[in-house]
Symmetry: D2
Subunit: 143 residues, 4 copies
């Protein structure tokens, strides 16, 4: 489905090892479902513990998985010893986060040695339908 | 400490009742520590369940409490029957979220009938010192 | 080249009439080169009067044409009597704005009655090559 | 009026020399009215050549002077040989840009060696009154 090229097994292992240390992803039930070169997908249920006052997913849930997907997309294009940090991220919320699950796709728009510009989209899936619930645009740096 | 005027008991009760329904805030251990007119403070520990790969608070933690504080700041200035929704939010991360606790202060920059422009700051406190860890700027609407 | 459907002659005329009143676009030499449904293209030279200190296009040039393209993209999907206003816009700058001309494409991501989420890209063209110089994400409202 | 400390004559001269090369500022009639350490003020008329369709200042005008003020605020805190570049900037528009003149104040929120987080406000002044018309938050880097 994705046009992004595959990444190397070493890079995928590096991303997965780092992701496994993010306790917030575990708390949210979020899984790293695809690691490609410059594009990472995270899938999360909308757990009862991650809701806002109307009982749909909190903006912080969409942000957290979107930001993380975008950050690891950047990491796939960084040198092997680098780690990634979010400099800034903007999210526009398009629709309530309700449905069976959220799928966040992060991708690198412009890889740079000092600065990586990234983007992300979050979709809510219900059965075989999906709705666009959030859109992100941000900046990552290697640390 | 704050210059913001107090809010009415009815408004504070309305904000607290809505906040209590946000399960993500409960999950993060976040408490609504102050409700003033146009300014709301949320305090959260940096729980082991809300970390990123370097074991400091995840960007999603700072975002979640900053966005929520800004949203409820907007709600204090909305009509009694209104609820608040985030249209968009941007966060710049200034320093790692480590320390005893995070304190997020959200405030209304420009109240409008259709659109409320809000801002927020997140501080990490350790003992009696604090460090500025994030800055947010966004838009809320009544729904 | 674009997948966006054509717009009606009435809508195109409405967009062009409004655009013609934007003196900043005239000052910048910017032309409305395509009006489709939910997608508008503006083309501008990088005039000597619109540069920054390194003699390439100012961030304000890329912002101005990107914001305007996104705003008119939103207007194509609004009721006939509406006018459009920018609520907020974020721009990430990807590369210096140098070359023969800039081309800004604005598009609607999510049309809503109260809020329209828009995005834009700005490209620098030199001969038959183009470079991605800026990316925008924002919010428009009908007024 | 400002709490920001004064800058050195060398730094002010460096900022003014760079600003003088920004042709867009000249086109907009914008003047560098104050250079302090980490805080820069630019004042601009709302020229007939910089308007949008309702004959008030274009969002691109507020953005251009706000971004430039924030960039030079960052430059005051950079090493003598550095130049400054905008990585990203977000603007929320609060009110129409009408009045006698616009005043943009840019300031550094967090100076860093690699990344500077900046903010800005744009005010419209009419007689001795002023109205908050825009608020900016962004990232600058030395180049």
């Amino acid at each position: 489905m994705s046009d992004a090229p595959p990444t190397s097994p070493e890079t995928e292992a590096r991303v997965r090892a780092s992701y496994a240390r993010q306790s917030l992803m575990t708390t949210l039930g979020a899984e790293l479902t695809e690691v490609r070169s410059g594009e990472v997908t995270i899938t999360a249920p909308i757990l009862p513990l991650a809701r806002q006052q109307h009982d749909v997913g909190h903006a912080g849930l969409a942000f957290s998985i979107g930001d993380t997907a975008a950050g690891y997309a950047a990491l796939t294009l960084m040198p092997a010893e680098a780690e990634v940090m979010t400099v800034e991220m903007k999210i526009n919320l398009l629709a309530p986060a309700s449905g069976d699950r959220l799928v966040a796709i992060g991708r690198v728009i412009r890889p740079g040695r000092r600065i990586m510009v990234v983007a992300g989209d979050v979709w809510a899936e219900t059965g075989d339908q999906r709705r666009h619930v959030a859109m992100l645009q941000g900046t990552m740096i290697p640390v």
